[in-house]
Structure formats: structure tokens, C-alpha cells
């Protein structure tokens, strides 16, 4: 790699559905997972990312390029992140959490988690269960008892048939 100073190094990433993406090394190493591979010298050919599909990886790479183009200015980075996430739906955000976790990108992980939290803040318990695929193992009596105990937390919550 040392011989290649001057020309920006490009890495090739492969999603689990076999799409190939080119990305500048300087942007890709925002992912600690990729940075470790580069440092270990495993980045010569194609880097396979078995846990990320092509659609999500394309988004993540857009983010990598966008955020690494911003100089060290936390305000501007934050507004870029807000704008980047503003048009993503819940399913896309959830896929991005998984990808950010796998790629070990803490800044994206924090931003996406916060965004999902913002979306679910006023949603009903039923909505959250459906979206995350959580099985309700309470009996109706148990559920009523827990709900009664935490009545104060249900002020201002959307009703269950909201989406």
C-alpha cells in the first residue's frame, strides 16, 4: 500500500447477493471491520460482506462517501446524518442497524439507533412487537397487570391500529 501513495486506493466490497461496489479506502475504513481487514492485508481482492445485502450496502457506501467528504466539523456531520436518514423507512433503518453493527461503524450505529428510537417513541406496544418480530408471551391477565403498574407510561401513545 505504501507504494501507492498519491493515488487514492479503492476497495471492492461484495454484498451477500453478489453485487460489487467500489469505494475509496479512506471512506471505507470508517468501518472498523473493513479497516482491520485492510490492516491485516486481506483487502487485496474483493472484500466479501456476508451479512449485508446490496441495497443496504449501497446506502451505507453513500453514507461513507458523504460523511468522509465533510471536514472535522461535528455540526455539519450531524446535519448530513439527519438529512441522510430523513427519507428512510423503518425496514431500511433496521437493515442499516444490522449492517452498522456488523461493519462496526459506531457513528452510523448511533445515528440510526437514535432515528429508530425517534420513530417508535409514541408508537403502541403492539406496533413495536410487530416491527421487531417480538413474541408476546404474557397471558392477557399478566399483560393487564404490567400495564396497570406502568399506567403513567401510556399517556400520549398512539392507538394500536396506527401504523
Amino acid at each position: 500500500m505504501a507504494a501507492e501513495t498519491g493515488t487514492p486506493t479503492t476497495l471492492t466490497l461484495k454484498s451477500n447477493d453478489d453485487e460489487l461496489f467500489s469505494v475509496a479506502e479512506s471512506a471505507a475504513i470508517l468501518s472498523v471491520t473493513i479497516r482491520n481487514m485492510v490492516e491485516d492485508g486481506c483487502a487485496g481482492g474483493v472484500i466479501p460482506l456476508d451479512n449485508v445485502d446490496g441495497k443496504t450496502l449501497a446506502s451505507v457506501i453513500t453514507y461513507m462517501n458523504g460523511i468522509s467528504a465533510i471536514p472535522a466539523d461535528e455540526e455539519k456531520k450531524k446535519s448530513y446524518r439527519d438529512k441522510f436518514l430523513s427519507d428512510k423507512d423503518f425496514e431500511t433503518l433496521a437493515d442499516m442497524v444490522l449492517a452498522a453493527n456488523y461493519l462496526n461503524m459506531s457513528c452510523l450505529m448511533d445515528a440510526v439507533s437514535a432515528k429508530i428510537a425517534q420513530v417508535m417513541e409514541k408508537k403502541s406496544v403492539g406496533w413495536v412487537r410487530r416491527k421487531f418480530g417480538i413474541e408476546n408471551d404474557y397471558t392477557p391477565e399478566e399483560e393487564a397487570a404490567v400495564k396497570e403498574e406502568h399506567k403513567w407510561t401510556f399517556e400520549g401513545v398512539e392507538t394500536d391500529d396506527d401504523n
Binding site: A94, K122, V128, E135, D137, Y138
Partner: protein, 331 residues
Amino acid sequence: MAKLSDDLILRIISRLPLKSAVRCKLLSKNYNVIISTAKFGRLHALRSSNPTVFHCPAVNSRSFTRIDPLSGSDPISTALPIGISILASCNGVLLARIDCYNEYHVLNPITGGATVVDHRIGRSQDIALAVDLVNPISLSSKFQFKLVTFDVNPNPTRYWSTLRFAVVVHSGAPIPAGYPATVVKPEVVFKCKNFARMADRSIRPVYAHGCVHWLGDDAESIVSFNVVKEKPRITDGPLKNGSLNKDAAAGGGGGKWFGVAQGSLQFVHGSPEVIVVYKHDYANDRWRVSHKIGNIYNPRAVINNHGTPVLFDGQRLFVRLGKRIYVHCSD
């Protein structure tokens, strides 16, 4: 959509405002258990984008104050009816006394839950509240708290003092027949050489790491009482050690504050020129200077019996002076 693991979902829940996070206990039994743990409480406290601080500044306080430091709005003080005083606070829960009946209540101002302490607390020099559960959201079946009263009598003719601790354990659980809700433990008496007086009454005992801590006079020593093992211990305070004394001198005998921030005991010592923040290193059991704050926005709002620090987030120190919050920043 791929399914997220419980761990990832909990990381998202930890970013919700408190009310929404607690509502997630209803998702399933597993989430109810996890969200009730101290570990989750700490995670939530660290992540929360707008921490709320309950602040009751002194013993026999007639009001308590709710502060959202990051929202920029003024703190909301709630005056209590005449005849009710707040004696102690811990993890958002308050211990109040109804003076005319000499009756004690533990209450949660967020949920409105309250429970009566059916034990006469005697002459208490200094009372502390220890809520083991870090998630005392509702005064529910799992709720338990301990009250520790502490009394120090320096012996005028000798060089040691007698410390007395009395512990009352109160369970909020539905009481099985024959099992008392309140358990009064035998008094613990401890003699020691290096603790003569408590700091002045404006410095309240603090609950952290399973112990209640009282700051000694001049912050030279600390009495810690382990509420589980029911054992007292005396340790050096933040201003004991020689190297720290220089910083204290630089701070020039200003106001003092003792509390918990970011999971550690902290001691703040201020003068109009500089505010020094000391942090207790729990692993090594020693105090060190963590920050010196020189950018003092309003010298009157230094901790000099006027202003009281309410929150330190590692960079900004929020000081309450009357109804306003002032922010001092470290460099």
C-alpha cells in the same frame, strides 16, 4: 427486513425517553426483566439525550426541583404543602416527612406512587435513602428501599469518635402473612480515629455502588456504609491527599458539592476564579482531579452557598442559582 437481535433492540430502546423505554417492559416477559435491571438503567442514563435531574438541595427542604439541563428551559420547582419536608433523595425517589404526624413517606414524583414507612425514625442526625433498584419507576412489587441514619459523636477527651448507623429495610412487595414489610436492623456502632464531624448540612449523603456515603468536614474523609453487608468504612476524602490540597488552595475555600455523576462519586469545589471537579476512581479507591473549569460565566453562580451544581456531563457543569441554570464549561 432482517430480524434484529434482542441486544440491538435494547440498544435502540436505551435511546428512548424514559417513559417510552419503560413502556417497552410490556413487549414481553424477557424485556420486562431486562429493562428492570440496574444495567439497563445505567445504559439508559448514559444514552439519554435529555437527562432529568431531581434535585433537593438540603435536609428539611420545602420544595424539590426538576431540571432538564439540556432543554434550556428553567427548572421547575414544586413547593410542598406546609408541614411536609423532604429529608433525602435517591435515584429520583424522595423521602418526605409529614411533620404533624411524624410520618414518613417514600414517593416517586414522576409516577405519583408513594408508600408509607411504618417505622418511627428516631432522632436522625443525617438520614440517607438507598434505593437498590436503579429503576424505581413505579412503587411496584419489586420495589425495595433502605433508610440509613447516621450519627457521629466525637469523644471530647479522647481522639476517637463513635459512629452509629441504623438501617431500616422496607419492601414494597405484597406482604406474605407473618412477614413484616419493614425490618429494623440492629444498630451498627463503629469507633474510629479519623472522622470527627460531618460536612455542613447542605451536603447530603449520596448513594452509589451499594453504599451510602457521607462527606466529612473539610472533605478530608468519607464515611461509607455498605447497605448490603451493613458495614461502615472510612476512606480518604478528595481534599485529604497532599497533591490535591494544592488544588484546593487554588480554589480558595469556596463552596462544595458532593454527588454522583456518570456513575462515579464526584466532588466539586469552587471559587470565583476556578471550579475543580474531583472524581472518585472506584477501581483504585482514590480521588483525582478530573477537570478544572476556568470559564466562569457568572461568578455569583459558583458553588459558594449560592449556586449548587446539579449535573456535570464531563465537559459542562450546570449550576443552579435560584431559578436559573448557569453552565460553566471546561476548556
